[in-house]
Amino acid sequence: MSEYNYTLLALLVFFLPLLGFLVTILLGKKFSKIYLFEVAIITIVLILSIVIGFFKLGFQVDERIISQFTWIDLKSAGTPYTSFIIELGIVLDNISVIMLFVVSLVSTLVHYFSIAYMKGDPRFNRYFAYLGLFTFSMMGIVLTHNFLMMYIFWELVGVSSYLLIGFWYEKDSASDAAKKAFLANRVGDLGMLAGLLILFTTYHTFTIDNVFGQIALGVLPFNSEFWLTIMGVLLFCGAIGKSAQLPLHVWLPDAMEGPTPVSALIHAATMVAAGVYLVTRIFPLFTGDALLFIAVVGALSALIPATIALTQNDIKKVLAYSTISQLGYMIMALGIGSYFYGYFHLITHAFFKAGLFLAAGSVIHAMHHEQDIQNMGGLRKKLPITYATFLVFCLAISGVPLTSGFLSKDGILAGALAFGSLTGHYLITVVGFTVAMLTAFYMFRLLILTFHGKPKDKHAYDHAHESPALMTVPLIILAVLSFFAFYSFNPTTAEKGWVFEKWIQTPESVVPESARYSFMVPESEIRDRKIIHSETYTKTVHDAHIPAVILSLLLSGFGILVAFTIYYWKKISADKIANSLKPLYKFSLNKWYFDELYDKTFIAFTMFLSKILNWFDAKIIDGVVNGAASVTRGFSKISGGFDTIVIDGFVNFSAFFSGLVGIVLRKMQTGKVQVYIVLLIFSIVILIFYFSR
């Protein structure tokens, strides 16, 4: 396919969800079935993105297809700079094409799932409209080739997330959670905005490629590598907010107040992955220090939520913390320079985590909106398909061989091991392996408490039944996608798979070599586009692979074993452990007191500030406003008089006139198309004769 066709298809994929949103939201009140339009649109979008992916990845792997146009050209406005152009455009390269597929697939499955899950909701159509809006904004983030559109769609994603979390706004908890998510994201976005300001004042362009090009030429903000680092970290702040990294992770668990399919789509598979996607997009501009910062943030976000997830009892909360932890993994992988595995984990995680949430949705649906796992148990027999798929997802997220999670997680751990041995930051390695164990433990705790053992709530258990096919089929599709075969022929490593070999290459860093990680500088004699790591690094990663596999298998096996010992065979009492480690247990159960901390510090300060501002508002601003209002009232009286006499008279006359004409013309409208055609033919003939003279 030619570039032109790619562009057209990509634009369709981009704007069709917007059309779906507009139609569904505008006609939602009139037609109760209009949501089917949105579902149809999203299915078409999925088909088109498969088409794009097929042609791009099958035939034009090495091309980057960029189509852009100049939106604003400030050179003509007389600014002193030589170039001051803001371009808008889209880019289709391998990572965006794959992401396009992931987003549209998960979105489509969630649409279909929601038809069954949300059945009977009074605002059914509006829900689908919001899903369309979200898909549109996510497509924007994926396809954009510049920071400006990235920021715009970043905010749009935030809005649609806000709308969906607070979808059941009658519940106070839901509307509070929506506000919290919005505000927490604002904090991160503030950092991103600051980063963008630095970037724009330095480079006078938003186009990502141009920025990279200028950095490679040695143009640095304020001429110092330090500010480049700061700029990178500030841009990364956006990712901290959106991907719910520490310390802004507090919004994600609360966001579980939204409908469960929404959690699957937004808060597991796609939107929270936007942060990771941002980091992969702008990976080349991070200096070594910035990357180290990213790695540390990622490692902390992987560890702390994992410890919290150990003790939570709400099925969705556990999954939410697990999501933060896995996102931390990806961020950490990118931070330690393991670019491919960070992105790869994003894909695999998108599928199995979306699956986990949908399966949880299926359980919740079956249990009539009961979310506490202490009241579940024994559901295995009642929900066989949900159980089987849930098991597959658990195996995948724990990194058991033959699953996709194994491939990606192992790559990350091997990278972490290599990173530790090359730079001495062994703490990150240790965190990586610890989290692998914790993950296996809490996922299997969740699985066992939900599906095994004796039912605790007899009544709910008796009424539980397997969900309809609209809900189970998406689960099965996602479960199938959680196996290794879709990513690599070899079940032990992704390195020989097509994804790694052909599709995704680590982009070369553009920052000055002195500012990079030492191992990210290729040897001078072999400067090839494809070789961007030093030889030592490649060798170390290769050597680290086998120990990492063994160690991670041992650790996750241990985690699973412990989970079984405690919750399945009940050899050790969970309460006893909790009692003996009471402070730690309390700490974890209360989520490390993050919310309370923020309450006492930031929120208290903000409340104080707002009280002062309130006083200012009421006394001074209002006085000015009231004065202005009375002036306006006087003026409007005069103009009202003019209106009734002059304007109205004119309007009435024209209405009378058109009525007169209408009475005459109505005689000609017989309502038969054929009469019109005869008239048309006659008039065409007359016109031809008239003009031929």
């Binding site: 309502g671 054929q674 055609i677 033919i681």
Partner: protein, 103 residues
């Protein structure tokens, strides 16, 4: 009589077109109207292909004709479905008797 060239084909298509319009205008049965439309589309196709050959425009004319055929197929399917539905509701397919909207 001159050798067959572009204008012969154009005249054939013009006549076919006029006949199609005549069919659309005079027939009362909806299926017959549809047939008239098919004649019009065929006339247009002849023009496309004739110009593609005699104007030496490459194969784009043939492709457009191909797309027209595809659209005609879609149109016929939808139109006949509508005709069947009309028949179910009004028990007639005469286009001038279906004038509920007029009232």
């Amino acid at each position: 009589m001159m050798e067959v060239g572009l204008q012969h084909f154009l005249v054939v298509s013009a006549i076919l077109f006029s006949l199609g319009i005549f069919g659309v205008v005079t027939r009362k049965n909806a299926v017959m109207v549809l047939m008239g439309i098919e004649l019009i589309l065929n006339a247009a196709n002849i023009n496309f292909i004739a110009f593609a050959k005699y104007g030496n425009f490459g194969f784009d004319g043939q492709l457009i004709a191909l797309f027209v055929i595809v659209l005609a197929a879609a149109e016929a399917a939808i139109a006949l479905a509508i005709v069947l539905n009309i028949y179910k509701n009004f028990a007639t397919v005469n286009v001038d008797e279906i004038n509920k909207l007029k009232e």
